[in-house]
Symmetry: C2
């Protein structure tokens, strides 16, 4: 196996990159200025050394605690609970949320062997108990695992003096009724709002 084939094989392990796309990427890099390959190699080689988990919220960061957890301009009384660190990025880019985050590190999925103890639910409880938190927003994906996890967290937070909310689920903006699946449509009915 030559150097191109090895690179294609590695690229094809990335999510959403098939064998053809992997080939296209490898040849693009071969055709491009060699400095591009060098820069990419350098960033990849130093990535795991530069990035760690924030010890407070669990998101990826260069400094611990992360810039969000140490930002005094943010609302410390609202906590947004997400499945993965990349969800923090997506929500930050939307600029819709000014509180802090808590990364679960997964969703409860008994069939895949992921139980509540595998997630950062203990640390979440501690943050809620000690941190003066007024509201916990559950921002897991609206999937079976997301719903299960949200239900579980809702239950264990029930006796604490904190409001627990969940992101609205329904028709995507710009989407059409015609193309919505049955479950999404069902949710959009159940979650209908008074005008």
């Amino acid at each position: 196996m030559n150097a191109i084939d090895r690179l294609v094989l590695l690229f094809s392990k990335l999510p959403g990159i098939g064998k053809k796309s992997a080939g296209r990427l490898a040849y693009y890099i071969l055709d491009a200025d060699p400095s591009f390959a060098q820069n990419l190699a350098h960033e990849l080689a130093s990535l795991h050394g530069a990035i760690k988990r924030c010890s407070v919220c669990g998101s990826f960061t260069e400094d611990d605690p992360c810039a969000i957890c140490t930002d005094t301009h943010r609302d410390t009384s609202i906590l947004c609970v997400v499945e993965r660190a990349q969800d923090v990025r997506v929500i930050e880019e939307s600029r819709e949320f000014q509180g802090r985050f808590h990364v679960l590190g997964g969703l409860i999925a008994p069939l895949e062997g992921i139980h509540p103890g595998d997630l950062t639910i203990g640390p979440l409880m501690n943050r809620v108990r000690t941190g003066g938190i007024r509201e916990v927003i559950l921002a897991m994906n609206p999937t079976i695992e997301g719903d299960t996890t949200a239900l579980y967290i809702q239950k264990i937070l029930k006796d604490l003096a904190v409001e627990v909310t969940r992101l609205a689920s329904g028709l995507p903006v710009g989407g059409e009724l015609e193309y919505a699946d049955r479950l999404t449509l069902s949710r959009s009915f159940r979650g209908r709002v008074k005008l």
Copy 2:
């Protein structure tokens, strides 16, 4: 800009990778075993040192001349002319062709400043003149630039004792008439074959 953002920026320069996909790739690599990032970094760093252009056909190779040019089991009397080195890979994977290749390094596109002199048309002429070649198959894409380049090469090879052919163009196998664009349909009529 932190290490993740720099990696996302580099990934988003790759063809077919938007900002969202680039983010997904970066976080996948962060979540994966660090050895994956290290392996990818290593392959990228050594890529341009390991791979060169074959001095005969112009395709990418670790050894010069390449494995195809030195393979004595292949038909040396047929030359397949392609635009880019990656086209060699695509054709090789189809196992449809047992001759040798010639990589042009581009297509004639006067508006983009690419003229015949910028391509390996001189070396192609030399190969045809000296190499006992019976047939030259023009395998450029069926685009305006591909057609222009094919026409140009056909003209300059006219006086040499060599047959010049072009890959058939028409409806893709498995495709439907209904979805074919007008030009493809027009080509499939002009190139219709007797049954």
